[in-house]
């Protein structure tokens, strides 16, 4: 052994340096690789919970309907009945959680209606769209249409 290592001890020291580096690397791995990595795939399992934990801004129509059955009745039979409440009234999870904390503002009729119903050649032909000048001039849409049941006046 002594004979084999003669004139090589500088190489042994270099090898030692490399091994020390490798050892340090392994220790750092044990310390810093997230404990829940690799369980379900090449990712941190906790990321699933992180993604699931964000706060909700839209309550969802079921929440609205549970407190406003009168509107549900009003919208029955109308094409607008298929639209979720928050599509027009905005994100209202805060209101659903605590009605007093946030009072939804009434959307500005003509502006909101035209977002969908303004005539555009790119909209499907079967969709009801109007040219405002021809259809109602300067009148607001609510003069003739109830937003919750627009088919009736």
């Amino acid at each position: 052994m002594r004979k084999f290592l003669q004139d090589k001890e500088h190489l042994v020291r270099m090898a030692g340096l490399f091994l020390a580096g490798l050892g340090l690397f392994l220790v750092l791995r044990v310390l810093f690789v997230p404990k829940d990595f690799y369980q379900l795939g090449h990712f941190r399992t906790g990321a699933l919970a992180d993604n699931a934990a964000w706060a909700v801004a839209f309550a969802g129509r079921a929440a609205c309907e549970s407190c406003h059955p009168d509107v549900v009745t009003e919208r029955k039979g109308s094409r607008h009945g298929a639209i979720a409440c928050e599509a027009c009234h905005g994100a209202l999870a805060k209101h659903a959680d605590d009605p007093a904390s946030l009072k939804p503002t009434l959307p500005e009729a003509r502006k909101l209606c035209l977002v969908c119903h303004l005539q555009d050649v790119a909209k499907p032909k079967t969709f009801k769209q109007v040219n405002p000048e021809e259809h109602m001039g300067a009148e607001p849409c609510t003069t003739c249409h109830k937003p919750h049941h627009p088919e009736t006046a």
């Binding site: 003669q6 001890e9 500088h10 020291r13 270099m14 490399f18 791995r29 810093f32 690799y38 090449h42």
Partner: protein, 391 residues
């Protein structure tokens, strides 16, 4: 961001308008390319016994080291969260070519370059340790790992091991730069990048740039030191530069001809891009000034009988043009690949700032830094000290 929209022509997916990879990502393949190329030149002597280029052996290795030390810098500066870069060592994703960066880099730096330089220089390091005093003595002793043994047998062992490391280093250099080509070449979403020849093209243009760099550094170093250039060495380097260049050019032309012939769905938009936004960097700088002209100059030297000073002029010009041309090649790949929309319906522009983290100033500093490091390395470990003092 608002202003970016004005640089858009046609339609781009909204998230595509801002370029993702900047000039720093152009620099990274350029720098690792120089490293790989310089190393291949050094290995010509050590492995392939082209002993004419021996005068540049050590200089090539030091150049490779200087540039390799700077290589991670553009990447770090570019990351959105640079403090998380070490995650590539903790949980490298084996399906991602980028994940091998940390390991390939460390392997090449320590197991190939540092080891080879150390083994080749060890005698001088020990001698300098014995000769110097104070801080320098401590430094040299540490570099020698506190060993004082420079017997014939130990140096012989060093030489054999060094040769083995160099042989190992050749495929390692190919891997160090080839994987960068694969990073681009494997992206099926981007037709400008996606091609199997990308790693090979990158590698050959890397060799071209590395050889040109060492050639120029050698010429400048001789001029600064007032020593004569070994023309046999220089002529040989220039010849290898020419050969490698021809292969590189052939590969790029193959890719181009293939694209034009097949003319798939991406061709029209790419063709238009090359003829408009990329015309100057691609046609003028990369192809004409950066490839055809240097090949022409180097080829002329082989065909005509020129004087020594004429050849030096041709080599210097060809070398500088080559370095600019290969930089343009990296630019055209990285930036070019982001100028067109993946909808093939539009183009955007690259706005290069000056004093921001990814601006021109950072890029310039990153390119100048290796020369500073090289200067320090050359002072510490002169590549041309053949006068050894008495032991």
């Amino acid at each position: 961001m608002e202003s970016m929209i004005h640089g858009v022509e046609g339609f781009m997916y909204p998230n595509e308008i801002e370029l993702q990879w900047s000039i720093l990502i152009v620099l990274y393949p350029y720098i690792t390319g120089l490293v790989a190329g310089a190393f291949i030149l050094a290995s010509l002597e050590r492995v392939f016994n082209v002993e004419e280029v021996k005068p540049t052996y050590r200089l090539a290795l030091l150049t490779a080291l200087a540039f390799l030390l700077v290589a991670p810098l553009p990447l770090q500066l570019h990351l959105g969260r640079p403090e998380r870069a070490f995650e590539m060592f903790l949980t490298p994703h084996t399906t991602s070519a980028m994940a091998m960066f940390g390991f390939v880099y460390l392997w090449y730096l320590m197991a190939v370059l540092v080891l080879e330089i150390w083994l080749d220089y060890r005698k001088e390091i020990v001698l300098r340790a014995r000769r110097s005093t104070g801080g320098m003595r401590q430094l040299y002793r540490a570099m020698a790992l506190w060993s004082d043994n420079i017997s014939e047998r130990s140096l012989d062992i060093d030489d054999k091991l060094g040769r083995f490391i160099t042989i190992l280093g050749v495929p390692s250099a190919f891997l160090l730069h080839g994987y960068v080509g694969f990073i681009f070449g494997s992206i099926k979403a981007n037709p400008w990048w996606s091609t199997p020849v990308m790693p090979v093209v990158f590698l050959f243009s890397a060799m071209v740039s590395g050889i040109a760099l060492v050639m120029l550094v050698y010429m400048v170093a001789c001029w600064m030191r007032g020593t004569a250039i070994d023309m046999r060495c220089l002529d040989t380097i220039a010849r290898y530069l020419l050969y490698t260049f021809i292969i590189d050019f052939a590969l790029e032309m193959l890719d181009l001809i293939h694209r034009i012939y097949e003319a798939d769905e991406s061709f029209k938009t790419l063709d238009f891009m090359v003829h408009s936004r990329l015309y100057f960097p691609h046609i003028i700088v990369q192809i004409v000034l950066g490839t055809i002209l240097p090949i022409g100059l180097l080829g002329l030297v082989q065909l005509m009988r020129l004087t020594e000073s004429q050849r030096k002029g041709f080599y210097a010009t060809a070398g500088v043009l080559t370095l600019i041309g290969i930089f343009a090649m990296r630019w055209n790949v990285v930036i070019g690949g982001q100028l067109f929309s993946k909808s093939f319906l539009g183009y955007t522009t690259y706005k290069l700032d000056f004093a921001t983290r990814e601006g021109l100033l950072s890029a310039t500093i990153i390119l100048l830094l290796p020369f500073l490091i090289l200067w320090v390395l050359v002072k510490l470990l002169p590549p041309w000290s053949h006068q050894e003092p008495a032991v």
